[in-house]
């Protein structure tokens, strides 16, 4: 069996399953957020009754992160719906925007978009927060009401996005009927060269198979090249499985996985027992791709979909209006470090926005020193508009007052994960997906630029 099949067989209480089988699997974690949580709660209450209790109050993780720093009253209300539900259900892991359990959330626009407006429990973008808060464990099943839930596959677990109705069902029963997906095999070898990042790996893979090339399928990443990738790298790659239509992505378990998971579970006091899945000789794949990491170059997915692959150097001269570093995929500490490596001592020439995924990443960047300056200072001095208000921000457009949102038909190069028409705001705007290094280099010139020109 493949890694995905092994996890699904275990969660279904079966000795073996194969692609195409429909099985009831037990959920380990259900994650929801402010955009889909209120609707999921609505389905749960409607179907199980007003007095119903969630199947496991320690297994439902609620992370407001999408539309937080906006004056939109419905968005603010949605955070309050989550708080009421978390209190009523005694949800163990609710990462509220504010500290007072009896309060209500209201964004104060007068303070501006850059200064932090959240309390001590706020966790930021759900997919980045889940591992930071010790909710991703090898061998488990994670459902989330968000398509990028597949990011947690980096931790050797089965993680997939579901809708409100399915999530309402899981909330009440702890189970879901799933079809076992066929597995596509991506064997990684070699090592990324300077200026080339994990984002380039996944944009390369999506370009290989087409952006619907993994529809209904699992994408398994393994091989000796994986050992040369950090957990952040693996998260970036797994995150974008959905951009090829994939049901999930999954990585092999190794010492790095163990160290990251054990540390995070201990830090937040979450359950630390888990059973990884390992490869065996009898894996059936429907597709094989070998990726030599050493040979990859900075890659861009052009408007209007993640499969429009080109090399950055082939697009030189493509003029841009703005640049954006942020999101679950591209707003991690390591992402900003690579951007800072390119931007240090230089100045951007187009509007450039930086949105860390989580408050912890804000803290990292403000407390990591490079010479006599923090990484945060280096980015700000280069002209990047850095906000402390960690969250999804303009990655998915959001309400019109969202930080970095494109409210006009502009062209943006972005370290985010999706570039369908209108994704970051205006429906005639265009998004070019690239690594944080490529975004940073392009911000310096105002057109698409290979970051290897700026590595000195």
């Amino acid at each position: 069996m493949t890694l995905t099949e092994k996890i699904m067989a275990r969660a279904a209480g079966k000795g073996r399953v194969e692609a195409g089988d429909n099985v009831w699997v037990k959920a380990d974690i259900l994650m929801t957020h402010d955009v889909c949580g209120p609707g999921t709660i609505g389905v749960f209450k409607r179907e199980f009754g007003a007095a119903a209790k969630v199947w496991d109050r320690k297994a439902v993780v609620i992370i407001p992160d999408h539309y937080i720093f906006t004056v939109d009253s419905k968005s603010n209300r949605n955070v309050d719906i989550l708080r009421d539900f978390a209190r009523e259900q005694e949800i163990a892991y609710f990462y509220d925007v504010i500290d007072s359990p009896a309060g209500t959330w209201k964004f104060d626009a007068a303070k501006g978009p850059l200064e932090r407006q959240y309390g001590s429990h706020y966790a930021g973008v759900c997919h980045t927060a889940l591992p930071q808060k010790g909710h991703t464990r090898p061998g488990e099943i994670l459902f989330g009401t968000d398509s990028h839930t597949c990011m947690a596959g980096a931790f050797n677990e089965f993680a997939t996005g579901i809708g409100n109705t399915d999530a309402g069902f899981v909330m009440g029963t702890g189970k879901l009927l799933l079809k076992v997906p066929e597995t596509m095999h991506f064997r990684l070898e070699g090592k990324l060269q300077p200026g080339v990042m994990a984002k380039d790996v996944i944009l390369h893979c999506i370009g290989e198979i087409g952006f619907d090339g993994a529809t209904y399928r699992a994408m398994q990443f393994d091989g000796e090249g994986v050992r040369n990738l950090t957990m952040d790298d693996r998260m970036t790659i797994a995150n974008m499985a959905i951009e090829a239509g994939g049901k999930n992505a999954i990585f092999e378990f190794d010492d790095q996985t163990r160290a990251a998971v054990d540390y995070r579970c201990k830090l937040n006091g979450t359950r630390a027992d888990y059973q990884p899945v390992e490869r065996d000789a009898a894996e059936k794949f429907v597709h094989e791709t070998v990726v030599n990491l050493s040979k990859l170059e900075p890659t861009v997915a052009c408007h209007p979909d993640p499969g429009q692959r080109k090399l950055a150097r082939e697009l030189v001269g493509m003029k841009l209006d703005r640049a954006y570093v942020g999101s679950c995929t591209g707003g991690k500490t390591s992402d900003f470090l690579e951007a800072a490596r390119v931007l240090r001592g230089r100045k951007v020439v187009i509007d450039t926005f930086g949105v860390p995924a989580t408050p912890e990443i804000v803290h990292d960047l403000q407390s990591a020193w490079w010479g006599d300056k923090s990484v945060w200072q280096i980015l700000v001095e280069a002209g990047v508009q850095m906000t402390e208000n960690a969250g999804c921000a303009a990655c998915l457009g959001g309400p019109v007052d969202t930080f970095g949102r494109m409210n006009a038909p502009l062209k943006c190069i972005s370290a985010t994960n999706r570039n369908f028409p209108g994704r970051m705001g205006h429906r005639e705007s265009q998004v070019f997906l690239a690594s944080p290094a490529t975004v940073a280099a392009s911000a310096l010139t105002g057109h698409i630029t290979d970051p290897r020109d700026y590595l000195s």
Binding site: P38, G39, F48, G163, T165, D166, P421, E428
Partner: protein, 185 residues
Amino acid sequence: MQSVFTGSVYVVRDNIDTDQIISAQYLNLVPTIPDEYKKLGTYALAGLPDSLYPIRFVAPGQPVGAYPIVVGGRNFGCGSSREHAPIALGSAGCKVVLAQSFARIFFRNSVATGELYPCECADRLCEILKTGDVVTVDLDKLTVTAKATGKVYSLKPLGDVKPVVDAGGLFNYARKTGMMPVSPG
């Protein structure tokens, strides 16, 4: 249970993602709140670029669209897992989406909510039909008949999906088939 749908089609192309079906800025609306469910319908397919789709799916100021059938190409509903997407289409009066292929989560959400029938058709109907053409979709005979030409196109079988949508979604189906108790709680 209704199996035959006749009406005008709204035609879109390949890779219509969930942002184009319901723009992210309207995800502040909660589908289980009745007023907000209705509001979602008024924004259905509003994310399509004007330059490519000068005719809007829901005319400005109208509560619902004039098209019970949406015709797409490949990979309809790709992108996010937002259930608001099939709900917005259903709320706007769409009963059937005909496409060459569907993205996984959109397909599943269409069935789980019972909002619409996601039907696969091997023919590239998005190049054969144009917005406003009248067709008849017969889900028992698995055919699409174009009124103007009389031409008949076949649909792939809906399999286990049809009875779930017929019942009005996952929970109703589960109750109807004895998988769940009839009354909540």
